[in-house]
């Protein structure tokens, strides 16, 4: 059976826009801990947060999160 892991590009998208975790957190109305734990894969966010991030970065949600098969 294949394992599925959630990967994300939040750090890359943030650094492209020179944005800190706190600034992103404030922009989408969550705590900095939420951003840092999602970014490092320790916490899987809800669809709402995923969509808010995609909307903020103006990219499709698949550009922010991908399901990796291992």
């Amino acid at each position: 059976m294949m394992n599925e892991e959630l990967d994300n590009n939040i750090a890359k998208l943030r650094s492209k826009q020179k944005l800190s975790q706190q600034e992103l957190a404030d922009a989408i109305g969550v705590s900095r801990k939420t951003i840092s734990t999602v970014e490092t894969g320790r916490f899987t966010p809800s669809v709402v947060i995923a969509l808010k991030m995609a909307r903020y970065f103006e990219v499709p949600v698949e550009k922010v999160f991908q399901l990796e098969l291992s």
């Binding site: 705590s31 801990k33 840092s36 734990t37």
Partner: protein, 164 residues
């Protein structure tokens, strides 16, 4: 119906942290009470051990008072039933709180099952301890352990992160 307030994530985080510290202080007070009554069977009330235990207890009460004072500011900005309903507006704080409850429940479940078998198989009430005293001590220990377990999980998950 639960009314949602416009709560800042930082207020919720401080509230959860203070509640965890409060649980830790209360849990330690409960457990220290049981340990104290156990130790005082062997030491007099004027011994160094008894005096140090009382000193620790006083420190715990003072720290609890400070925590309550600190908690009052963020608590005013957070919905009162947030902790019980698990409806923090910030998702990660909700997750942490739920984890705390999960671990506390599992820990206390196994602790009670193991205690049940140990009591059933081996334990008899000592002659100098009444049944009521024994039961109160057991309840104090159980509540204390449960609160400490919840607090440690929440504080561990809330601890500072390094990734900026």
């Amino acid at each position: 119906m639960i009314t949602q307030l416009n709560v800042q994530p930082m207020d919720e985080e401080n509230y959860l942290k203070c509640f965890a510290l409060f649980s830790l202080a209360i849990g330690t007070i409960f457990i220290s009470g049981v340990i104290e009554s156990f130790i005082l069977q062997y030491f007099s009330n004027e011994s160094v051990v008894a005096i140090s235990l009382n000193f620790i207890r006083v420190c715990l009460y003072i720290s609890m008072a400070i925590i309550i004072f600190k908690m009052s500011a963020p608590a005013n900005r957070v919905l009162k039933k947030t902790l019980y309903w698990g409806n923090f507006q910030d998702e990660y704080l909700n997750f942490i709180s739920a984890k705390g409850y999960n671990y506390a429940f599992n820990f206390i479940f196994f602790y009670l099952v193991i205690s049940y078998f140990l009591i059933e198989l081996f334990w008899t009430f000592p002659e100098n301890v009444s049944v009521v005293e024994g039961l109160t001590g057991f309840c104090e220990l159980s509540v204390g352990l449960m609160l400490i377990c919840y607090a440690l999980v929440v504080l561990y998950l809330l601890k500072g992160d390094d990734d900026e």
